[in-house]
């Protein structure tokens, strides 16, 4: 009974969703998957704790869920695409979630995205052949 280690485990700030994670968080992700249906989202809104209990979340997962701790949920195995089913219908964008993971504001997160892309037009000119309007 051994989970093998992987090279990707060493990438900092990154939680690769693999068999080990998916196995550990199956109930949590099953609950998040249920949010594909509006009636389930409504049922969750009426009593979040009861809904979490119905899906068999651990106490730690439940506590992270009820306090809106996205990083905690991620570390406990929530798949990011499934976590989006909790976030997006409530108006929490992927930038809001990214900011929460890093403990910065959404504005700062968006600014960082722009900074990392700065100068791309010059690179396109250097490579040549790229469309530019």
């Amino acid at each position: 009974m051994t989970w093998l280690k992987h090279e990707y485990d060493k990438i900092p700030g990154t939680y690769v969703f693999d068999g080990k994670t998916s196995h550990a968080a199956y109930a949590l992700n099953k609950m998040l998957f249920s949010f594909n249906h509006e009636e389930n989202r409504q049922e969750f809104d009426q009593d979040e704790e009861a809904y979490a209990i119905k899906f068999g979340l651990t106490d730690a997962q439940k506590s992270a869920l009820l306090s809106g701790d996205f990083l905690g949920l991620l570390r406990m195995g929530a798949n990011i695409y499934y976590l989006a089913k909790l976030a997006l219908p409530r108006g929490v964008s992927v930038q809001d979630a990214g900011a929460a993971f890093q403990g910065i504001t959404t504005e700062e997160f968006i600014e960082n995205l722009a900074k990392r892309s700065e100068g791309f037009e010059e690179e396109l000119v250097k490579l040549g052949g790229y469309w530019n309007g």
């Binding site: 990707y8 990438i11 798949n79 219908p89 995205l113 100068g119 396109l124």
Partner: protein
């Protein structure tokens, strides 16, 4: 015989779907991104395909984590979109071509790619957003479709090399179909982005552009990277770029570039567009 008219790469991120639904194409944030699709739309009108094969990953609409096929192909006459919990509008249905799909499945399996065949298949934003980018200006979808889903969600994922090899087999499968279909292939997803963890928000323009040039001229370079190497550079969700290699593999070794376009940031990602045709031998 069926003929490949070309391949297109495109982002499929959901916020593009929302921007299209809300008519934001001329908004300053979006304008350069969307304008770069006009040549793609013009090319599609010119080559006039009958069928689009859309290579994408399902993000938890058709497949839950109870069953995750590495490669799955739709084999139905219709594909529906549905609520995927991402606050997106539901899009009208897409026509399929069951006979063509089953031929592809059979040919791929005979070439040792053990596809999962799906006679009911809900298609999520990974499929729907590219279709909208290409043809939302028309009253109806002008093509029949074949959804081909690659697992990029739950590791172990197929390698980049395996995706390229799948594409090569797909090319043979298409070209061995006796009807005179004109087929376009969309390789969707990417480019660099990571939605999760403390490393969320990475964008690597240099790596993205290396990937684009590689897909055109030397797909073996990208195909030679391990999934860990791609994740280190492009992020956990940027791994989707391996799906571009399925499209590229289906084309001939030498291609002509009809169009290339890159923009960043688009939401959390770098967004790359390629239109490639087989070079005349």
């Amino acid at each position: 015989m069926a003929r490949i008219v070309g391949g297109v790469t495109t982002s499929h991120i959901p916020v593009i779907g929302n921007a299209m639904a809300n008519g934001l194409e001329n908004d300053p944030y979006w304008k350069r991104f969307f304008d770069g699709y006009e040549p793609v739309k013009a090319w599609l009108e010119e080559v006039d395909p009958d069928i689009a094969i859309v290579i994408y990953n399902d993000h938890g609409l058709n497949f839950f984590l109870d069953k995750v096929p590495t490669f799955a192909i739709g084999c139905a006459d219709q594909y529906d979109n549905a609520d995927e919990g991402w606050a997106l509008p539901t899009i009208s249905s897409f026509k399929g071509d069951a006979e063509f799909s089953w031929h592809l499945a059979e040919s791929l399996i005979n070439q040792n790619f053990d596809m999962t065949t799906c006679q009911e298949m809900l298609v999520d934003h990974g499929f729907v957003v590219p279709m909208g980018l290409m043809w939302r200006h028309l009253p109806d979808w002008p093509v029949k479709t074949v959804p081909l889903a690659v697992n990029t969600v739950q590791h172990p994922l197929p390698s980049a090399q395996r995706c390229l090899a799948l594409g090569r087999a797909l090319g043979k499968a298409i070209e061995s179909y006796p009807e005179d279909h004109k087929v376009v292939i969309f390789g969707t997803g990417g480019m660099s982005h990571q939605l999760q963890g403390e490393r969320a928000g990475l964008i690597d323009v240099d790596f993205d552009l290396k990937c684009m040039e590689s897909v055109i001229n030397n797909p073996e370079w990208l195909a030679g990277l391990s999934n860990t190497e791609i994740i280190e550079k492009a992020g956990t969700e940027g791994i989707e770029v391996i799906m571009w290699l399925v499209m590229r593999g289906a084309l001939h070794p030498n291609v002509n570039v009809v169009h290339k376009h890159y923009h960043a940031p688009v939401s959390n990602t770098g967004a790359g567009v390629l239109v490639l045709e087989n070079a005349k031998d």
